[in-house]
Amino acid sequence: ATGCSSSGGQAGASSGNGDASLSFMTTEPKSITPQKDPGSQIGMALCANLMEVNSQTQKLEPLAAKSVESKDAKVWDIELQDGWTFHDGTPVTAKSFADAWNATATGSNAWQGNGTFVAFEGYDKMNPLDGSKATADKLSGVKVVDDTHLQVTLTAPNADFPKILSTNPTCPMPESAFKDLDAYEQAPVSNGPYKFISWDHNQQVVLEKWDGFKGGDGFTGGAKTLVGKIYTAVDAAYTDMTAGNLDMIRNVPATMVDKAKSQLGDESLYEVKTASKQQTLQIPEYVKELKSPALRKAISLSIDRDAISKSLLKGYSTPSDSLVPPSLASYVAGSCEDCVFDPEKAKKILADDGGFDGTLIIESNSASDQQLVQAIAKQIQDNLGIKVQLKPTLGTELSERRNNQKLDGAVFGLWGWSYMSPDQYLSQYETGGDGNAATGYSNKEVDKLLKAARGELDEAKATKLYSQAESIIMKDMPAIPLFIPTDFGLQSKCAQLNDVQGDLQYYRAGYGC
């Protein structure tokens, strides 16, 4: 699919003199500097990370790096590709990475990528946990050996380190960026397959394929020009697509899928092959009334996931029976025994446990999945016979309550990975792990198993350890698995979407006109 940029697109769909051009939906970026907004599709197109997943092989491969190696998973040696430059022609060196990493890890910058470096040695000095002032302004674990060599020391072994290097916060930044960060913010220079052309605030961001990019196929898309059209809501983008003004949309809500099929045709729909997300009902340990695992199991048993999936979700979600999505190697089918619908058993377990006469509060983000949460609540209420109350709040407020452990009940949430690893899911249940604040679940055994799994360079062994950890967690059921939603993208005739390990990236779409 790549390489057809030169075959000449038709006028009309493309921009200007026959050049292939694709447009995609985006919201007004808060920032297009990858470190500041790691989720940004624009940032991804601009930046070539050290490691990256090849869209053709679906394998993690070195990109800007020649190699990333470690013997103990703690100290990692990185060798850069020769002769790589930034869009402006300045060479990409080890320092380009180290500088960017140090800046991102600096707490006071408040760049969103900050947390990525928590595993690096020296991060705690820059971001002391006890609230004291930072004592360092550089990551001590990052050493620039020479222009093409870097050495990174982690606080603990982590076999996923190369995967971390495929995420956007680890992008390099040219020296010029630090001279004037504000200017860089408006016109970033990076080393990726596309270079920045213009940012017309609230209207569009234009990127253009960079001839100097040395990465191979599987890291670039087919269009010469990429236009990020800015929308505030996906509905508007959809309407614009039906009017023929837009080529690609990702994260298409399930409610839109049928409509798209009938209005735009089946071929417009792109189903992401690797399911990377999961919806769960997490139950904070600190909510006393919900502490009993039996109650949690009863709740889980009272939800008819199949019915909801078939009706409300129109089959665009599958019931979940594990704490991780099936696409992960550590997945064991049915690891959650109580993730089936059995109201009789549910009632019985609950009765044996002494019943529940309080109110089950379900918190959720008021901006999304309201109907789903209602349906779940209704199932619990009708089938288990307990009182359920919904508490929808805004995203910021919910995050704060979750992070500060101020939730009043169970919380409905969606979790996705940044890179494909069971650790990304299970660390939620590790003391102090990523996302652990939500439940506050803590189990020494689990902690130990996860630590071991992370440090294990042998993937098979690691997988086993992860599965083991999961089965222990499942006993306490700090989270009730609900659904694995299918992720959809929409494409126009000219666009050919694809995804890398469950992540649909616009800039890798093929151009088919």
Binding site: D235, D258, Q374, A375, L394
Partner: protein, 302 residues
């Protein structure tokens, strides 16, 4: 020499005729026969009944969230479910009937609160004038100047759990200044009427004058304005809920139904159509009712 026939000037009621009858009296006669009044009054009455006793309209059937079957989600209207079935698999007719309560309650309570505040504050501002008036007017300016949606969102954010009362609070908080201005200007008109001065001359206190003379004579325009406003408030609630900052489930309201329906406009248009019809008819009813009231009270009316 002359025949003095008539009685003298203190003759009593012999000449007590009904002089040029006031327009109000005339208009009041058989007002309920006027089509505008009759139609809008019926709608308003019906809606209020629906809000107060939804059971009547659902034939004592199950409540809005009972007897639902999630597998039937979004089924179009049929004989058994004349308005179809909603997203949660519940009978939509029942839901819409129960949804009236929130809308009507918001409309009426907010208007009533705004009416009360405006009557009191407007009367004070208009009657006393001076710095009190200046202060109140400036406060009104503030409340006016703040974009309503922004202010309402911010206020609604203050509540963890948003229910009908928080929505009412937020709407009421910013919906009185118009009334105050209105009341103030009609008080300004009444304040200098001679009967007010006459009461002053009799030694009436300010409180008495406001209560007995100013408010009764200045209140009609405000009353009419607020009746008109009921419809506006019903729409406002729906609007707030639509942008996700108004009511939240499990509350049932037309606003919520419309907000939810938006995602299903193509798949299940009935979800949108029915509450929209009810909302429109209700707003129309209240607005027409206000208009009719205005005509009744307007001495220049006909």
């Amino acid at each position: 020499m002359s025949t003095t026939i008539t009685t003298i000037s203190t003759s009593d009621g012999a000449d007590a005729v009904d002089r040029a009858p006031s327009p109000m009296r005339g208009a009041h006669r058989r007002w309920w026969l006027r089509p505008r009044f009759a139609i809008s009054g019926t709608i308003v009455l019906l809606m209020i009944l629906m809000a107060a006793f939804p059971q009547i309209f659902t034939g004592f059937g199950p409540g809005p969230t009972e007897n639902c079957d999630i597998l039937l989600t979004n089924q179009p209207p049929s004989a058994a479910h004349i308005f179809g079935i909603d997203i949660q698999g519940c009978d939509y007719y029942t839901n819409i009937i129960y949804g009236a309560r929130a809308s009507i309650l918001v409309g009426i309570v907010v208007s009533a609160i705004a009416f009360g505040i405006a009557a009191v504050v407007g009367a004070i501002a208009g009657y006393f004038g001076g710095w009190i008036d200046a202060l109140i007017s400036r406060i009104c300016d503030m409340a006016f100047g703040l974009p309503f949606i922004l202010a309402a969102i911010v206020v609604l954010q203050l509540f963890g759990q948003r229910n009908i009362w928080t929505v009412i609070f937020a709407l009421a908080l910013f919906s009185w200044p118009g009334g105050v201005r209105f009341m103030r200007s009609s008080v300004l008109e009444v304040r200098n009427r001679e009967y007010v001065q006459a009461a002053k001359l009799l030694g009436a206190s300010n409180g008495r004058i406001i209560k007995k003379h100013i408010v009764p004579n200045a209140i009609t325009p405000l009353l009419v304005l607020q009746t008109l406003g009921v419809g506006g408030m019903i729409s406002a609630e729906a609007g707030l809920t639509f942008i996700g900052i108004g009511l939240t489930p499990p509350a049932v309201s037309w606003g919520l139904q419309l907000a939810a329906a938006r995602d299903y406009i193509d798949a299940a248009p009935h979800l949108l159509i029915f509450p929209a019809i009810f909302l429109t008819v209700t707003v129309l009813g209240f607005v027409l009712f206000g208009e009719a009231l205005r005509d009744e009270f307007d001495p220049k009316g006909k």
